[in-house]
């Protein structure tokens, strides 16, 4: 199973970019600020049965989560993104949206913890 979170991705991001810890903190803050709207949007687009917008929101949440180490959430969003448009089953997508919210909350907890650990080691 894909790990929920990888702190190594954040560490690699920092060393590859050659940036101070504050840069990573800013990225995490952006994620905390912007991503809840994407989770809400995924649920809303499923309610509205708006497939195109759903795919767009799932895609955005996938990319930003993967960039900051939220691997399992990214993978789950990818599964939604890969839904075959001719085989859309809205109740299944609704169930998947619940998982997205759960994984998002867990990812945020992991990010907070990672921030703390990275700050301590910085």
């Amino acid at each position: 199973m894909i790990p929920l979170f990888s702190i190594e991705i954040l560490m690699k991001l920092r060393s590859n970019l050659g940036v101070p810890f504050s840069f990573i903190e800013e990225l995490v803050q952006i994620y905390f600020k912007d991503s809840p709207a994407l989770v809400d949007a995924i649920e809303k687009h499923i309610e509205d049965m708006n497939f195109e917008s759903l795919i767009r929101s799932a895609h955005s949440l996938k990319s930003s989560s993967a960039a900051l180490g939220g691997l399992r959430l990214a993978e789950h969003c990818r599964e939604i993104e890969m839904t075959n448009p001719s085989e859309v089953c809205w109740p299944v997508l609704k169930a998947k949206a619940l998982v997205v919210r759960d994984l998002f909350e867990k990812t945020c907890d992991e990010l907070k913890d990672a921030q703390f650990r990275l700050k301590k080691s910085a």
Binding site: N16, L17, I30, S60
Partner: protein
């Protein structure tokens, strides 16, 4: 200084890409939507565009297709930077002429190297394609126009006449056979009299400057410029 336009709506990636590409030679400007990008492209010149596909107001592929219809922008190299691994998108991007397609998450050093390579390539291309001054002519290559250096008098040449004059002038004193000129200018061997007819009309248009082209009996032509004493052989 290289100016890069990054069209990306996700703030994390705006920050990461700017951090990767910004340096003493490169400045990254950000558009969070296609609408903003269009406005920025109208006002400024960019050496390269880094384009996401999933954007809030229009998808990056169709935006790129729009750019390709605009003469002023179609030569600007575009690198797609996207989370989409879709083969359809990749094919569409490359079919339209994209320079590269990079999937997120991406290796930062590799991405920077790719961008720098495209910038170098674009610079080289525009350097070659802009203009050339070969006495007594000033060639504007992109618009295929030719003027005198001395007083900017324009000669109204056909595209073939322009190509023929530029081909000869680019290699002063080199004797070109008719076959070589046909290959260079027409891209194929066409009728035997084509070269002579085009040279005749070109010389007529050049008036007193027609002497820059000299016929080499039994072979073809060469460019000797205005100083006939320079001739070799």
């Amino acid at each position: 200084m290289n100016r890069i336009l990054l069209v990306e709506d996700q703030r994390e990636f705006q920050k990461i890409v700017a951090q990767v590409l910004d340096d003493s030679d490169t400045v990254v400007e950000i558009a969070a939507s296609v609408e903003v990008a269009k406005a920025m492209l109208q006002k400024n010149h960019y050496e390269l565009i880094v384009l996401d596909i999933t954007l809030p107001d229009q998808d990056g592929i169709s935006f790129y297709a729009d750019l390709q219809t605009q003469t002023a922008l179609k030569e600007t190299p575009v690198i797609f930077l996207t989370g989409s691994e879709s083969t359809t998108n990749k094919i569409a991007a490359f079919s339209l002429g994209a320079e590269d397609y990079v999937v997120k998450p991406f290796n930062h050093q590799e991405f920077k190297a790719r961008v720098q390579a495209k910038l170098r390539k674009a610079k080289k291309r525009s350097g070659v394609a802009e203009e050339a001054k070969i006495e007594p002519f000033h060639f504007r290559l992109a618009s295929q126009r030719v003027f005198t250096i001395a007083d900017a008098t324009e000669f109204l040449l056909t595209p073939k006449e322009f190509k023929l004059l530029y081909c000869l002038a680019s290699h002063p004193d080199r004797v070109y056979s008719r076959e070589e000129l046909l290959q260079e200018v027409w891209g194929s061997i066409v009728g035997g009299r084509t070269i002579d007819t085009t040279i005749y009309s070109l010389r007529k248009k050049l008036g007193p400057l027609a002497q820059v082209i000299e016929a080499v009996p039994s072979i073809g032509y060469r460019y000797i410029g205005l100083n006939k004493n320079k001739r070799v052989g």
